[in-house]
Each structure stands twice: as C-alpha cells, then as structure tokens.
C-alpha cells in the first residue's frame, strides 16, 4: 500500500492503494466518482474517458502512480455544477443516450474535441470520437449533439 494525493475536479483526494492500481478503480471504488465507467480495461472501448491536464485519456490503463504528481484530473462529475455545460445541454436536446452507460466517456471525449477544435467538420468529429464505443447505437445522435454544441458555442462567440 502507498498513499497518493490526487487532484480531481479541483479537489484534493488522498488514497491508499497498492502501487500500480488502475486510476479507474481508484476513481470508482475508492473515491466514489462512479460517473467514469468500466467497459474493457484495455483502452479499447473508451467509456472510462477522462481528462488529464486537459487531454482525453483512458483511465483504465493509467496507473495511479502516474497522476499523483499534481496532474489535473477531470471527470464527468467535474464538468459542470448543473448539467449546463454546452455539451450536456446539447446531449439532452438531442436525446442522445439510450442505456447511457458509455455516455460519460462520450461526453468527456466530445468536450476535449470542442476545446481543441471548436468548429469541427463531420469527418473530424467521427475520427475524434472513434475510440468510444456505444452498443445501443446512439452514434448519430452523439454526432448531432456535438454539431449542435459547436454551433451554439460559435454563436455565443460571434
């Protein structure tokens, strides 16, 4: 066991786990941040997507040791106070989720996309989102939600 200090959603957490423990288990089972989901454990499905220092990453393959040095970890719980992030609003407007299990990962990936590229083309969206699986088949609505959010953002800026 070792003690690690993590910065998650601008809050400091201390956790005692074995070195090498997956960040996903730390977030979900030790810190209770269960919005980030487990799907495959090998970075193939993307439902555990979070942000580390602003970049999307798959929590299941990150060891806790690697992010206990002050890196800023952001999970779905830290996205907004009242579900009012433009992506969340667009997601509700598009009625995107079905079972909803993959959607925290989809949303975190989409937020990272729009932060890096506020006005992506449809092909850019598809490429960027390709790593997050959805078994219910909600991809078309995810695409629509991202386009709506991008448009809303662009309108706000102009």
């Amino acid at each position: 066991m070792a003690t690690y200090t993590l910065d998650v959603n601008n809050r400091e957490y201390e956790v005692s786990v074995s070195p090498g423990t997956s960040l996903l288990w730390v977030l979900r089972e030790h810190l209770g941040l269960t919005g980030t989901k487990y799907g495959c454990g090998i970075a193939q499905c993307g439902v555990c997507t979070i942000h580390i220092d602003g970049s999307p990453a798959k929590a299941c393959v990150i060891q806790v040791d690697a992010v206990a040095g002050g890196q800023k970890i952001r999970t779905i719980e830290g996205l907004s106070e009242n579900r009012d992030h433009p992506i969340q609003k667009a997601w509700i407007e598009a009625q995107a989720p079905q079972c909803g299990y993959c959607h925290p990962g989809q949303i975190m990936q989409a937020v990272a996309l729009l932060e890096a590229n506020p006005d992506p083309t449809r092909e850019e969206i598809k490429n960027y989102m390709n790593g997050v699986l959805c078994r219910c088949g909600t991809y078309l609505r995810i695409l629509r939600a991202i386009e709506m959010a991008a448009k809303a953002e662009t309108n706000l800026e102009s």
Binding site: T21, H30, I42, E77, R83, I92, C99, I107, L140, L143
Partner: protein
C-alpha cells in the same frame, strides 16, 4: 409503535401527511391510502397484501409514478409512466418516475400464458403488455381523485372532470389541483375495473404520441445515473470468478494456499464451472484471479469447431429425418413437384456476443442470520422476480428484496440471471458484508451466452406466372426458439409453407440476443425473395407488393419505405439499394443504400430508410431512437461481429479481438417514418436489427450480381463472394 392498534381517523391521518400513496389496482382488494411518511405502514402493506401502489401524490402536487419494467435504454422509464399519466390526467411537468418493487403479482403484466403475471423486460413486450395495465391503473387512480372531489364538494361524481392535474366541477366553477386534494382524499369502497371503451380515445391524448424528453436522460449526462456497478456500501467486499474459455469445464485449483495468502484475499470459493475469489478491494480480487492456477476438466464443447461445423449442419439439413415443424401451411412437397421453377439456397450465421457496455455485475448483502438478503442489480427480470437468490440461500421469496438499477445495456443477456446467483453464492460466504461481483470484459465475452450459430436451407417454388407457390425453411442449430424465431411468414401470402427446426448441440452457452432468431431467419427469407425476384426479372418491391396484398398494414410500410427512399429514382454511380421487411410485434420495411470497395471487400452503408407501423406510437422520438440504434447494432453484427470456437474454446476475449461498429462506420443518414395508427402499441426494439443483413445483402446482389449468404459479411467473405 407499529403494533399499537389505535384506530386513526383516516382523514385526520391524511391531513398530517405530505404525501400519500394510492394502493389501488387489483380487483377485489380493498383500496387504501397510506401516508408515504409512514414507511413502516407502507412496507407492511406491500408485504401483507397483493396491493398495488402505482402512484404517490404529494400535497404540493408532485406525482411519482412507478415503472414496473427494466430501463436498459429502450425508454420504459418514460413510455409506461406516460400511459399511466394519460389516464390519470396528470400534468406531466409534475411527474417523476421510480422503479416499482419487484413483485409480479402486483406489478406484472400478462406473459405468454393468458392470465399470467410476469415482470420481464424481454421480447419487446413491455409497451404492448403493459398498455392495458397502465391505462387501468391510471384510470383507477383518477377515479379516487374524482370521487374524493365529489364528496368534498358534495356534488355527483358524474359532474367532475379533470384536466392536467386538476379536478373541475364546471357547474359551480370550482376547481382544485390534485395536490390540494390530498388532505381530502377518501378511498372509495371499491374501484371500477375500466374497459377499453372507458379509456381516452387517441384524439383525446395529451401525452401519448407527443414528443416528450425521456425522464432519465438528464442523469445520464452528468454521471449521476446509477447502474448496479456504481453501488458502494460501507464494508463492501469484492468478488470475481475465473470461468475459463471452455464452457462447462470443471476447474481444479492447484494453488489455493498461495492465493489465500495474497493481500486482501478473504475467501476462495470453488464452483462447478469456476473458481471464485473474494477480497477487500477490487484490485486485490483481480490480482488474485490472475494468479489462480487451474486445471480444467473436459466439456461437451471439446471438439467443436465453429467454422467447420457447418458441414455437419448441412448434412442434418439434407437428411430425410424431419425436424420439429414450426409452420405448416398447405403442402410444400406438392407445390415443389408441380413447380415451374424451384430454388434452393443455404445461409449460415456465426455466433455473436451481446457486448452490453456494462459488464455483468451485482451487489448482494445477505443478513448475518442468512435469513434475508438485499440485491442491487441491473436485470431484465424474469419469471422469478427475486432472480434465483431465494433458491441459493434457501430462504422464502419474500425475504429477498431486489432493488432494480439502470441497465448498461441488456439485449437479452440480462434476462439470464447466472451472475445474480453467483453473487448470492459469494455474498453468503461473507455475510453480513455486502459483496459486489464484477465480471471483467474478458469474463463477459469469453463466458458469454451467444446468439447461436445456425444453418438454414431454404427452398421455394414458383408457377409459370412467377407466383410464389411453395416456401420451405429448415433451420439447423442449438436452442429451439433461439434459432427458430422469425421463420413464420405471416404477412406474405404463400399458399404452401413449411418451417422446421432440426437440433444440433455443441455445449456452447446460448441466449436470446436482440431479435433472437429473427436476425438470421429474416436474412435468409428476405434474401431468398430477392434472388427469386431477380431470376424472375421482377423488381424486389413489386415482388413483395404482390405477396403482401392481403396484409394491408405490412404493405403500407413497404409503400412508405419505397416512397421515402425514392426506390425507383436514380442511384449514384457505384451504389445500390436493397429492401427487407420484418415483423417483430411492430411491422417495418427498411431500405438501405450501399457502396463497395472491391479491393478491400469493405461494404459502406450510406443511408437507411424505415417505415414502421407500431400501432399507437406512445413515444415517437423514442421509437425513432430505437430504430436508429437497432440499425447501428444490426450493422455492427452484420459487418463485423464474430465469436469463433476452436476445439470448444472461445477465441475472443475483449474488444481488440471482437470488433464493434465505431463512429467512423456509421451511415450518413437514417430516416424513419412512423405510420399513424390507433391499434394497440407493439414493441419496436427488435424490428430494425433484423432488417440489416438482408437489406445489405440484397443491395449487394443488385450492385454485383453476387450473393452474401454467410453472416457476418467480413471483408474476406465479401471478396470471396466477388470472386465466386
């Protein structure tokens, strides 16, 4: 306090309470009103009587409606409460929804046996089977309100009307919100049983058929929606199982002592087919699992090779011994003998895996005396609403309480409760500590329960005018209805038909997979029709139009799909369209447009158009979502998914070796049209998926003149078909 027998004046009692539950519904049961603050009394009522609390009403007008079905993304959390709220005449803005207790006598709807009560979210039965149940319950709850208003205002009940959570007495101009009525509620001595003619007519619907946002979507965009895998409890421990990759093989653990010494390990639990480990943390349980040294025993599956077994299946199809007849109309042999033309074609499909994104899991806490248990689970429920737990623990049914959670996908896998039983076995070992059982993705895939591999031989005959006179369909595979569902052609007028199932068993675990046998069987049937149409030089839509002449509702979907897809219009160079019809409760015709990379063998689906008749469309936007999702899941299974077995051993273990459709491969466009109807609603979740294989194969036939007859259409198989 609960035991004191003080008679409380019902009105006084209610006046002190903020929220009441209406225990109504079953005929012959004295209706009751219980304060929701009195949780002891609520529980007592629930345990003692087969009463039903479909709705809770609070003094501020808040309405909580119970959903008796599982919510796995198909929208039951909205569609069933909408049906209740329509008859209750609720202001939808004041409605919230929660899961009902898992008690089929109270909250069940009719199953396959008339008069039965079943809580099971399978077979797209939810909206259809609960339609009369929710309407009656809503109408009865409304009756309590209007009879209470009538006695409060001292006017005849017949003069009371309702509108959007208000009771109204038009003559005197009085009106009251449902919430304001709470202190004045009086339970009538009996409740009427409402009949079809008492319910609102479609023209009076305010909620049914309208586009309403789904109730649980907001929780699903901020991570707060709770799945069973998200449950955490004080003192909770973790269980995992190693099941191997040879189904039914018995394990012998050779290093138990070493495993028990690993950090955090609490128990090692051997089962017939697996070794269980319980540890303080999930990572400790997984570390121990990884270190298990196991000798695996024999299994019925040994010797089974999924890609070679088709030769045996073909022999079974060709043999003289008949299988179990499923459909027998007229005399196909006679039709074949007198035919102008006969056709024969074989179709194959490989095993596919559910891939629900939330791996199987459950949390169970068994009481210290082992005499009761609580279960938190995402389940599609079942004939045993307590999911096998009472049997495992040897305790009465009522001593198990099931807390249903959202399902991170079901698709049929969660109607099998093996994982709940496993959790109970492990939780019993550590009682009274709560235990969370998690299947890793590898467990979930390798020890999956697949849609069975099957082989189909179809034969057909036509007369000299090209009319289809005979149609026979022989399905070879394991699992009865798992391979045979969907062989009936109820909407095609073919005078002589035979459909039969011939058994072939391989020891592989099998289960219903979205649309079950409809996927492979509609693929075979609809492809056969196009092959005949092509040979007869008839347009595939025109060919089906003739066959559907006596099925106007099916025909209407065909005509609408042809119209919205511009079936007869020009097609871009290198593209072709294919059509398919499917009945699965609702009726639907789908048309897809594809192109093909002939070098790689990659099929690209550009567009899909669907026309659907689902009866009364309760939640139109949700129906569209189900069709879109059904098409995407169908494309995934048809173009990519394949479980293979070598000498009984499952070859795939995770999403690196088992590919699902990703965003880059989605169609540009899925257009759905829902035909208006006032018929009883039908399920929509499984109608689109089976369209995909046949629509793609039919488009491929038109584009290339070549046949795709083996699912999935991997690039290798496509190239093989092109070179044939």
């Amino acid at each position: 306090m609960l035991k004191t027998k003080t008679t409380i004046n019902r009105r006084d009692f209610l006046r002190t309470s903020g929220e009441v539950a209406l225990f109504i519904g079953l005929s012959g049961i004295l209706p009751q009103l219980i304060s929701c603050r009195d949780t002891g009394k609520m529980q007592e009522q629930l345990e003692k009587h087969p009463v039903t609390a479909w709705v809770k009403l609070s003094a501020d007008g808040g309405i909580t409606i119970c959903n008796p079905a599982a919510e796995m993304g198909q929208g039951s959390m909205t569609s069933l409460p909408v049906v209740f709220a329509e008859e209750f005449d609720a202001d939808w803005a004041k409605v919230s929804v929660e899961f009902s207790p898992q008690e089929a006598e109270i909250y069940g709807s009719e199953g396959w046996t008339p008069g039965s009560k079943l809580m099971m979210t399978v077979g797209s039965r939810t909206t259809h089977s609960y339609w009369p149940v929710m309407r009656n319950a809503g109408a009865q709850a409304r009756h309590v309100l209007i009879s209470s208003a009538a006695s409060y205002w001292e006017v005849p009940i017949s003069e009371i009307t309702t509108a959007e959570s208000k009771v109204i007495h038009e003559k005197s101009g009085k009106q009251m919100g449902y919430g304001e009525l709470v202190p004045h509620l009086v339970m009538p001595d009996s409740l009427p049983e409402f009949k079809e003619e008492d319910f609102k007519k479609p023209s009076e619907f305010r909620l049914i058929g309208k586009v309403l946002p789904r109730t649980e979507i907001p929780e699903k965009v901020d991570g707060s929606a709770q799945f069973a895998i998200d449950i955490r409890m004080p003192g909770m421990v973790y269980g995992v199982l190693e099941r191997g990759n040879l189904h039914g093989s018995r394990p012998t653990l050779t290093n138990e002592a070493a495993i028990r010494q690993m950090e955090g390990v609490l128990e090692v639990v051997p089962l017939d087919y697996a070794i269980g480990v319980i540890a303080e943390s999930l990572e400790q349980a997984l570390a121990a699992k990884k270190n298990l040294e196991i000798n695996w025993g024999p299994s019925e599956a040994l010797g089974h090779n999924s890609q070679e077994v088709y030769r045996e299946y073909e022999k079974i199809a060709a043999s003289d011994s008949p299988g179990r007849a499923i459909t027998e109309i007229g005399d196909v042999d006679k039709a074949f003998r007198s035919a102008d033309q006969t056709y024969t074609a074989d179709f194959k499909n490989d095993y596919v895996y559910h891939s629900q994104m939330e791996p199987l899991n459950a949390v169970i806490q068994v009481a210290e005396d082992l005499q009761s248990a609580e279960v938190w689970v995402g389940s599609q429920q079942g004939p045993d609403t307590k999911l096998g737990v009472p049997g495992i623990l040897g305790i009465p049914h009522e001593k198990v309480r099931v807390h249903l959670q959202y399902l991170g996908g079901g698709f049929g896998r969660r109607s099998m409760n093996d994982f709940v039983e496993e959790c109970a076995i492990l939780a019993k070992e550590v009682a009274p500590l709560p235990l969370k059982l998690i299947w890793t993705r590898e467990d979930d895939m390798t020890y999956g329960a697949y849609r069975p591999l099957s082989f189909q031989r179809l034969m057909a005959s036509t007369d000299s005018r090209g009319n289809l006179t005979g149609f026979s369909h022989c399905v070879v595979g394991d699992g009865g209805n798992l391979v045979a569902s969907g062989v009936a052609n109820d909407h095609y007028d073919i005078p002589n038909q035979l459909a039969e199932w011939r058994e072939a068993s391989n020891g592989i675990r099998l289960k219903h997979w979205r649309a079950v046998g409809h996927g492979p069987n509609k693929f075979a049937i609809e492809c056969m029709l196009d092959e005949i149409a092509m040979d007869q030089k008839t347009d595939p839509v025109e060919f089906r139009r003739k066959l559907m002449a006596k099925s106007p509702r099916a025909l209407a979907t065909l005509e609408k799909a042809a119209e919205i897809s511009d079936w007869n219009g020009p097609v871009s160079e290198g593209r072709a369209k294919g059509v398919a019809f499917v009945e699965h409760g609702s009726l639907g015709t789908g048309v897809c447009e594809i192109s093909l990379d002939r070098d790689t063998g990659r099929i690209r689906v550009h567009n899909f158009w669907i026309a659907l008749d689902a009866g009364v469309p309760v939640q139109p936007d949700n129906i569209k979502a189900q069709l879109e999702g059904g098409i995407i899941m169908g494309m995934s299974s048809v173009l990519k998914e394949q479980i293979t077995i070598v000498d009984g051993r499952v070859q795939q273990s995770n999403f690196d070796t088992y590919q699902l459709l990703r965003m880059q491969d989605i169609p540009d466009h899925i257009e759905t049209v829902i035909l208006p109807s006032s018929e009883r609603p039908e399920g929509v979740g499984e109608t689109a998926t089976p369209m995909v294989a046949c629509a793609i194969a039919n488009a491929f036939l038109k584009l290339t003149g070549k046949r795709l007859r083996h699912l999935p259409f991997t690039p290798e198989r496509v190239r093989e078909a092109l070179n044939s």
